[in-house]
């Protein structure tokens, strides 16, 4: 029996008078990678924004490990073990990899009042994490993000989520604008995250990318969930496309 990690129940979201989500239910189990698919305007991004604390739901509840939680902002989601990785990775490009990894939770050394960063520890942990997520190039942890490629930036964001033991990592279109090799790198990071016990919600326009890494596919259309148990091994890409476009009826 799969252990439930996150459950969104009856989520409805209005932007003014426009209904973006209607009574949406979504469950993610522990160690599961869920692909969230849907056409433009289907409500995927809004649902993810609600789950990551970026926008409040108009109504509905969110349960994490069976406990009802309030998401008033992104820090609430992070505190509840939910980490979201956006297309632009939400990194500070001027700061180094190590400083980004620990931003907001920097380790200190010496007396507390000195507020002194433990840069040595930060860089050592960052280097180990980069290896763990499979960045083969030797990139010093003191390298600023601005000097990294798109795929490497996603890797840093994923490494951060893994290090702080986020239970659920949400990847919002992580392969957009990436080349073939970099895309494969990101998909590899997702597998690494799953193998180390993290759950993931993976959103992408490219169904082929989703098929390569997810355990289950959820499809949204016009603000509602129309299918939530499509298994990549049991369905074809064409079948999923028909569900997305509504041609399956």
């Amino acid at each position: 029996m799969a252990e439930e990690l996150v459950r969104m129940a009856g989520i409805t979201k209005f932007y003014g008078r426009v209904k973006a989500l209607e009574n949406v239910n979504l469950t993610v189990n522990r160690g599961e990678v869920v692909g969230l698919l849907g056409d433009n305007g289907a409500g995927k991004s809004t649902l993810i924004k609600v789950l990551s604390g970026a926008v409040p739901a108009t109504s509905g509840d969110i349960f994490i490990k069976g406990r009802k939680v309030e998401m008033k902002g992104t820090p609430d989601a992070i505190a509840n073990g939910i980490e979201t990785i956006y297309q632009d990775s939400a990194l500070v490009t001027q700061l180094s990899i190590a400083r980004n990894l620990f931003l907001g939770r920097e380790p200190l050394r010496g007396p507390r009042w000195l507020n002194r960063l433990d840069l040595e520890q930060m860089e050592a942990v960052a280097s180990a994490l980069l290896k763990q997520v499979g960045i083969s190039k030797a990139i010093p942890a003191s390298t600023p993000i601005v000097a990294l490629s798109g795929g490497e930036r996603q890797a840093v964001a994923i490494a951060r989520a893994m290090h702080f033991d986020s239970d659920l990592i949400i990847l919002d279109e992580p392969t957009n604008n990436l080349g073939v090799a970099e895309t494969q790198g990101v998909l590899h990071f997702v597998r690494t995250a799953r193998d180390s016990g993290h759950s993931c919600v993976f959103i992408a326009h490219n169904i082929h990318h989703v098929f390569q890494v997810v355990d289950r596919i959820v499809v949204m259309r016009r603000g509602t969930v129309v299918a939530d148990d499509i298994r990549p091994g049991q369905s074809s890409v064409a079948e999923v496309e028909r569900v997305i476009t509504g041609m399956d009826a």
Binding site: V92, R99, L103, N115, L117
Partner: protein, 328 residues
């Protein structure tokens, strides 16, 4: 190989260009007029340089966080006026008057920060408004006349802030000690502390910083308070040293300090700042002002040189940024 890469790394730093320019200025001015490096000239230049420098140090942190403060020049004028008005009226001791005036300056900084962070008004507009409010207040409470400050003689507050020692021809003020202290402190804060990481993140990508739980608003309000307090302190020091608390003093300092900061390599758009660069920028502008007069260039032409230096340094920093981003 090692030396070459060290040299390459040094030249890639934003402080490298300004440091070379500073050395060039010293060499050229001394070659034309050897008294440029005389003890007396150094002594005179240092006295005023560090007062303006204190403001630029705080401005560096604020600009790294992506904001700037145009009200510093007015606070440089208002704070000593408040202090001396209170003291001369016999209401308080000089020490208490100093604390009250500094508290008012800090409060004005907090108001600037609140407008910027809570009402989401650009700092350019907020601090432009505060520039007028502070200057207007200074002029109103003094009727436009300078406050007498010669009674500072023998007051311990005055000694702590501006006391001086005479070493032969060289006269060193306590303000130099304060400048060195704050330069070291703020360099440490910016590069070696958690708060410094938050300051850089707030200016680099405020949304990402907030998402990681960094209280960006609190960081920025704190820096507005620091900026205002430093401007106030610099004004008080200057008023004691020159024996005049003029409500008009500090006019135009806001642009001069911002110029010092950007010449030193701090990004106007935020996210990257350097105290070492600012210290170099401070000396470039002050030595320039002093040097061009000493070599016989009309003082009125000063702004032409400053403008040219700003443009040249901006072009250099922009080129370095592009080169670093392309991995060159």
């Amino acid at each position: 190989m090692e030396t070459q890469s060290l040299a390459k790394r040094l030249f890639a730093r934003p402080e490298a260009g300004p440091a070379i320019l500073l050395m060039l200025l010293i060499v050229v001015f001394t070659a034309i007029n050897p008294t440029f490096l005389s003890v007396l000239n150094i002594s005179n230049t240092l006295a005023f340089t560090v007062e303006l420098g204190l403001i630029a140090l705080a401005m560096t942190l604020l600009m790294t966080a992506g904001e700037f403060d145009l009200s510093v020049g007015s606070l440089f004028g208002l704070t000593p006026v408040l202090m001396w008005t209170l003291f001369n009226a016999g209401t308080t001791s000089l020490a208490l008057a100093f604390l009250v005036a500094m508290a008012v300056a800090a409060l004005i900084g907090a108001v600037n920060g609140w407008f910027v962070t809570a009402l989401k008004i650009p700092s350019f507009l907020v601090t432009l408004g505060m520039l007028l409010v502070a200057r207007g207040t200074a002029l109103y409470i003094t009727d436009g006349f300078p406050q007498r400050t010669w009674s500072a003689e023998g007051q311990w507050v005055a000694d702590v802030l501006v006391g001086s020692v005479q070493l032969g021809d060289l006269r060193l003020y306590m303000s130099l000690v304060w400048f060195v202290f704050f330069a070291l402190l703020l360099h440490y804060v910016l590069t070696g502390t958690r708060v410094g990481n938050w300051i850089q993140a707030a200016g680099g990508n405020a949304g990402a910083a907030a998402a990681r739980g960094v209280n960006v608003a609190r960081v920025k309000v704190g820096l507005f308070v620091l900026s205002a307090a430093m401007a106030g302190l610099a004004g008080v020091i200057s008023s004691i040293r020159t024996s005049a608390a003029n409500p008009n003093s500090g006019t135009g300092y806001e642009l001069e300090t911002i110029a010092m900061v950007v010449i030193g390599g701090t990004a106007l758009s935020g996210g990257r700042g350097t105290i070492i660069g600012t210290v170099i920028g401070i000396f470039i502008l002050r030595l320039m002002r002093n040097g061009i007069v000493m070599v016989g260039v009309p003082g009125l032409a000063y702004n032409i040189f400053i403008g040219a230096i700003i443009l040249g340094m901006m072009a250099l920093h922009s080129w370095l940024d592009r080169r670093n981003q392309s991995g060159g």
